[in-house]
């Protein structure tokens, strides 16, 4: 190992050369380690920061935009909702159980740092296809890890999505989203202030686990020697996390905390330097006061350890005894490890010697920022429909589509997650969005995560829009008004090829769509370098969205209700096979979603749901309208007979995708009210609910799906695929 230390740590020669100018001398080794982590992509967003400014982040109900541990919006009656999505992709590729579990733990602590009670979790997952033993292993172990952690901390895992595609074979994606509830006037922030106030480290002991995780794992491509990175994956302890939640909420509720910050990537270094930089103050930390798991840890190790289940609180000295007593009551270790100073410096002592003494802002505000190359990808090639054979037996093709892991029921996953704990889950997983009532209020939240990754590969601007509108339609189908969003931008190496352009274009498309529906982004995360020498992932900008329902009792599900209900198509999207699940590849040239028409459809759906004129609603997405109709029939246990507008190939009509379509049902007498709710949005009565088959006619040709046969395929696919 002859490479200089800074290169081993992942710093470029230019970055290393810039440090003395910031601190007035060459860095000590612990300082160099701190710089390497804080200036990593994971902590500094150095390749994406300038692009992220494009997102709309303001709105009348925004209480906290990007920049804190999580964002927050006002939901009325004195309450706020905190939300954030975050990736744990690289740790999950190295050790899927602990990687996914600690991903959940980390996002929960981000929410907790606002003083918010975590009330819902979602997971957005991408793996290689299930015929790959490696992907089966990663998928099943990641699901087990998510379940283990979420179940044990008592936060319901209510939603998410999973896609299996060969492009994720080498770089799986594990994104976790958490939603929390906090009194609007009791929200905590991370900024340190007030000379003499105390830093109290609460929770797990600090060990050597996760050292260098942010730079080693999250900011470089994975390669064949991944085994050597295993010690960088953190180990989870959900029992301690649960006590940490209980304890911190009691401390926050009692007014005993001045600020709160979680220890995540880059551990104490990141937590303390961000608290100091945000508050414009200095911090003096005594590393000998940090409670350790093992003896003989070096100063740098203590400073950057990513041991889980730790929070850093800012405490008025007058409240210290009360804080320590509360921590003792919850059987949590807690120690005063430092004080706020007026110097602006991050100072650390170890065995009595000063080992770190640098401006806190040098680690955070002075982190480098790079413009990514913006070489456009080639324009997508129009789909040659003549080269796509029309299936000879459409009924069998329909059944086969329902039996694809990307379409089939995800019950095998969500049945392993406690999606009920807390007794607030009004709409369970399996529908368009989950609905959680807000404890003590008549209002409820709809929550979803979505991404149109194949569309993003072909046209990142259009795919960015499609991802947002998919989430918005899912929220609207339950009756929720899209209200706030968080994003997790999963991309390949931004320094290579067209990835930088794709990132910028996807952000542009997402921003356009968010502006069209007046939804702010209040938090987010970026995960780059998701590629191996063999393949890069699709651009996967996951959007997590929260919607607001005025009346929890008025939420709408996707299951057909009663025989005789009319089946009605809302919206004017034209079905196309480009980028469709039916093709199964990113090919063709999908239509770019129309901002005005998509926003109008979302608005019409919300209005119709709020007026109580629909008995079910389900948006048309992967697999096209044939899958939409089948899923509503399976969920309701009753079929339907439908005639679809023709004039196109039958496989396009049945399996084509495009967005801008929602299938709803209503009582016949409610049709006029539905048309009125829809305004200018196209409303077409296409059939009626009834029977035990789903029968679809196109241009005089009829295709029929028997519900019981469809159920068998739809419900058993995933179980069989991993057996």
């Amino acid at each position: 190992m002859s490479a200089p230390l800074h290169r081993q740590l992942g710093l470029s020669d230019e970055e290393f050369a810039a440090i003395p100018g910031l601190i007035g001398r060459p860095p000590t080794d612990p300082e160099l380690v701190m710089f390497s982590l804080m200036w990593s992509e994971h902590c500094s967003y150095k390749h994406s920061r300038s692009l992220l400014r494009r997102f709309p982040t303001t709105g009348p109900h925004v209480l906290q935009g990007p920049g804190e541990n999580a964002g927050a919006v006002d939901v009325g009656d004195g309450w706020a909702i905190a939300l954030k999505v975050e990736s744990h992709n690289h740790p999950s590729a190295v050790e899927p159980f602990e990687g996914a579990a600690t991903g959940v733990g980390g996002i929960v602590r981000d929410i907790l740092a606002l003083g918010a009670r975590p009330i819902a979790l979602l997971d957005s997952l991408r793996f290689g296809t299930l015929d790959s033993p490696r992907s089966r292993h990663l998928f099943t172990r990641a699901v087990a890890g998510i379940g283990h952690y979420g179940n044990c901390i008592g936060v319901p895992t209510v939603g998410g999505e999973v896609v299996f595609d060969d492009r994720y074979e080498d770089s799986c994606l594990v994104n976790a989203m958490c939603v929390g509830l906090v009194p609007a006037d009791g929200m905590l922030r991370a900024a340190a202030f007030g000379e003499g106030n105390l830093l109290v480290l609460i929770g797990n002991r600090t060990g050597r686990d996760g050292i260098g995780g942010a730079s080693v794992l999250a900011s470089a491509e994975l390669s064949a020697d991944d085994d050597s990175k295993r010690p960088s994956v953190q180990v989870s302890d959900p029992f301690t996390e649960r006590k940490l939640i209980d304890c911190c909420l009691e401390l926050a509720g009692g007014g005993l905390l001045l600020a709160l910050q979680d220890l995540g990537a880059a551990g104490l270094t990141s937590a303390a330097s961000e608290m100091a930089a945000k508050g414009g103050v200095g911090l003096e930390i005594d590393l000998d006061r940090v409670h350790l798991r093992e003896e003989g840890m070096a100063a740098a190790e203590i400073l950057v350890s990513e041991s889980q289940e730790r929070m850093l609180g800012l405490v008025d000295p007058a409240n210290l005894d009360a804080v320590l007593a509360m921590c003792a009551r919850w059987e949590l270790d807690a120690n005063v490890i430092g004080t706020v100073t007026g110097t602006g410096n991050f100072t650390a002592r170890h065995h009595g010697e000063i080992v770190v003494d640098i401006p806190a802002s040098a680690l955070t505000d002075d982190a480098p920022s790079y413009a990514v190359p913006r070489d456009p990808a080639p324009a997508p090639v129009a789909l040659d429909l003549d080269a796509v054979p029309v299936p000879g037996d459409l009924a069998n093709a329909w059944l086969a589509l329902l039996g694809r892991p990307n379409i089939a029921s995800k019950r095998w996953i969500y049945q392993q997650y406690d999606h009920l704990v807390g007794a607030n889950t009004v709409r369970r997983p399996g529908g368009d969005a989950a609905v959680i009532r807000i404890p003590g209020m008549s209002r409820a939240l709809a929550v979803t995560t979505d991404c149109a990754e194949r569309h993003c590969e072909l046209d990142p601007r259009g795919g960015g829009r499609a991802s947002v509108f998919e989430a918005a339609r899912n929220i609207a189908c339950t009756g929720g008004l899209p209200y706030a969003a968080s994003d997790c931008l999963n991309f390949a190496n931004p320094e290579k090829g067209s990835t930088g352009w794709r990132l910028a274009e996807a952000i542009e498309g997402m921003s356009e769509a968010l502006e069209a529906i007046s939804v702010p982004v209040v938090s987010g995360n970026v995960s780059l370098y998701n590629e191996s020498p063999e393949r890069a992932i699709y651009p996967t900008p996951v959007i997590g969205m929260v919607g607001l329902l005025e009346d929890a009792a008025a939420s709408v599900g996707h299951a057909y209700g009663a025989e005789g209900d009319l089946v009605v198509l809302l919206g004017g999207g034209l079905p196309r096979l480009d980028a469709s699940e039916w093709l199964g590849t990113a090919s063709g040239s999908p239509a770019r979603p129309d901002l005005g028409r998509e926003a109008a459809l979302v608005s019409a759906m919300v209005t119709a749901a709020r007026r109580g004129v629909v008995t079910s609603a389900h948006d048309v997405s992967d697999g096209g309208i044939a899958v939409t109709l089948a899923e509503s029939a399976l969920a309701g246990g009753i079929g339907c007979t439908v005639t679809l507008p023709g004039g196109r190939r039958a496989d396009e009509v049945l399996f084509g995708e495009s967005g801008e379509r929602i299938v709803v049902t209503c009582r016949p007498e409610a049709l006029a009210a539905l048309r009125e709710s829809a305004g200018d949005v196209p409303v077409a009565v296409i059939g009626a609910v009834g029977g035990d088959t789903v029968e679809v006619s196109v241009d005089g040709m009829s295709v029929r799906l028997e519900l019981e046969r469809a159920r068998d395929v739809y419900e058993t696919t995933l179980t069989k695929a991993i057996a």
Binding site: H148, A423, A553
Partner: protein, 209 residues
Amino acid sequence: MIAVVRFPGSLDHDSAIRAVQAVGGQATYAWHADTELPAGTRAVVLPGGFSYGDHLRPGAIASRSPIMAPVRRHADAGGLVLGICNGFQVLCEAGLLPGVLRTNQSTSFVCRQVELEVVDRHTPFTRELGGSLSIPIKNHDGAWFGDPATTRIVLSYGAENPLGAVASAAGVANAAGNVLGLMPHPEEATDPLLGSTDGLGLFAALVRA
């Protein structure tokens, strides 16, 4: 007053308190480290969760915590004790109920709605209940194992037996019938919004005590 015991790692204590309130009762917490139940306690709930993180065995550490001494005295005096999920595991570990809870047949966590049959209507808990209840299960170690010949099986999963319990037992009582443990979560079936109100009857029985 209904006392809901809170251990480190308890998760369903708030839901249990809301369930008691939904049937017109009053509830308060009992802390695991206390040596007496709250004054005026008429019945006790041991709620669901992962007390002590399921370390050692589910319920093993909680069953030896200080609060269990007064819970045992309360049960010995004929007072009602309801153990839900982890609470059921604690009661078995404490020897207040027969048998043990083993890992589910699927070896994984199972969260879903189930239909329960009330097979013993002669306990204070079940006297007023209907014949069947729709209530969710959510656990990892919920397969009751014991001797059905000598155990009062009160609630049954019927033919389906989703967790692989001996005799399809979902809930069992002590011989006197005043201590009941069940794996399903009645506090999650207390409001039409949650899909079922079939769990209310068990809490109503506590409030009547």
